[in-house]
């Protein structure tokens, strides 16, 4: 009986150790991007955006003329980034740049917005958002691996801190807290 328990705990330790090593990278990717995406209301987690507002004298230009629009874009230093522009019904000119946009009001108020991908974080977020079918399978395997880590983890330790003693309190707390949130959000 004692031999059987030892063998069983041995294999749980092996699984927990080796699966833990294997999933280290994925855990970091999903945790960091998870925190970033959790606060998506407060910031853009994948792009750094820089906004600038300036005024120009539009009386020198015809905002209906493409050549004049491109002249303005050149004055703003963005000629090489120009893609296209359109004129809205309200007379505003929206210029699309390679990594940004410019909005020019008829009164000469100009808003320039440029964006750059956040190094590393943008790529982590891209993976977190499931870029394709193959990744879906791999991330399902990751989720299954986390379940394995959880199940093997609660049986790793013997004695005072085991799942039958102090460990049970922490485990139950980890279940009860999300249930409390659920109760308050759903009611």
């Amino acid at each position: 009986m004692a031999g059987k328990t030892s063998k069983w705990r041995y294999w749980f330790r092996v699984i927990h150790r080796d699966v833990g090593y294997f999933l280290f990278g994925m855990t970091i990717i999903y945790s960091i991007s998870g925190i970033a995406l959790n606060h998506i209301r407060d910031w853009d987690p994948s792009y750094i955006k820089v906004k600038k507002s300036i005024s120009i004298d539009t009386s020198k230009y015809n905002l209906q003329d493409e050549k004049d629009i491109i002249k303005i874009v050149d004055v703003l230093g963005e000629a090489t980034n120009y893609k296209k522009h359109r004129i809205t019904r309200s007379g505003e000119v929206k210029v699309y740049l390679r990594k940004g946009s410019i909005v020019i009001s008829p009164e000469g108020e100009v808003e320039i917005e440029k964006f750059e991908k956040r190094l590393v974080l943008a790529q982590m977020n891209f993976l977190h958002y499931n870029p394709g079918r193959a990744w879906t399978w791999f991330s399902d395997a990751f989720a299954f691996g986390l379940i394995l880590l959880g199940v093997t983890g609660i049986f790793l330790v013997k004695g005072k801190h085991s799942i039958s003693k102090i460990g049970l309190i922490y485990t139950l707390l980890g279940i009860i807290i999300p249930l409390i949130f659920l109760y308050f959000y759903v009611r």
């Binding site: 853009d44 994948s46 792009y47 809205t88 699309y96 946009s101 394709g132």
Partner: protein, 159 residues
């Protein structure tokens, strides 16, 4: 023998390519509102300029036409739209969807807007103004709802 195999290969590639091309009407964004009712739950190609890619994971784009008409296209089968699509002319294969906006929908929308944006903010005021426009349309609607059309993307290409 080699020529026969080559012909079979060409034929196979042709059949596969033909199967991939979907037959669907092409609609410009400017005409979408007028024609959408006929194509609910059906596939169409929508063409227009990509004005905006939603910052929330690129799950939505705004396609605009020449007269400021705008159609909201949800990512659907596409995992996400890259931000670099802003300013590109697109041809999007999509399914036309209809949202039936009734009084209950508008009340819930207003509640959500006030919760998410906070009462008194600029964004809240703009959203509430749009909600009130729908309420005015609802008063004149014989169906008891106002149809609002959008699309769910299947694939897209730059044109």
């Amino acid at each position: 023998m080699k020529n026969v195999l080559l012909l079979i290969l060409i034929g196979f590639v042709g059949i596969v390519s033909a199967q991939k091309a979907v037959k669907a009407p092409v609609i410009k964004v400017d005409n979408f509102e007028a024609k959408a009712g006929k194509y609910v739950d059906k596939k169409v190609y929508l063409t227009g300029l990509c004005d905006h890619v939603c910052k929330h994971a690129g799950k939505k784009i705004h396609l605009v036409g020449k007269n400021d008409a705008m159609v909201e296209i949800m990512a659907g089968d596409i995992e996400k739209f890259p931000k670099e699509l802003e300013g590109e002319d697109l041809k999007v294969l999509c399914t036309v969807m209809e949202e039936r906006i009734d009084a209950k929908y508008l009340d819930e929308w207003e509640k959500e807007v006030k919760q998410n944006h906070g009462e008194g903010t600029e964004e809240c005021k703009n959203n509430v103004a749009e909600i009130n426009k729908y309420r005015d349309q609802l008063k004149n609607s014989k169906k008891g709802y106002v149809p609002s059309y959008y699309a769910e993307a299947i694939s897209y290409e730059k044109i």
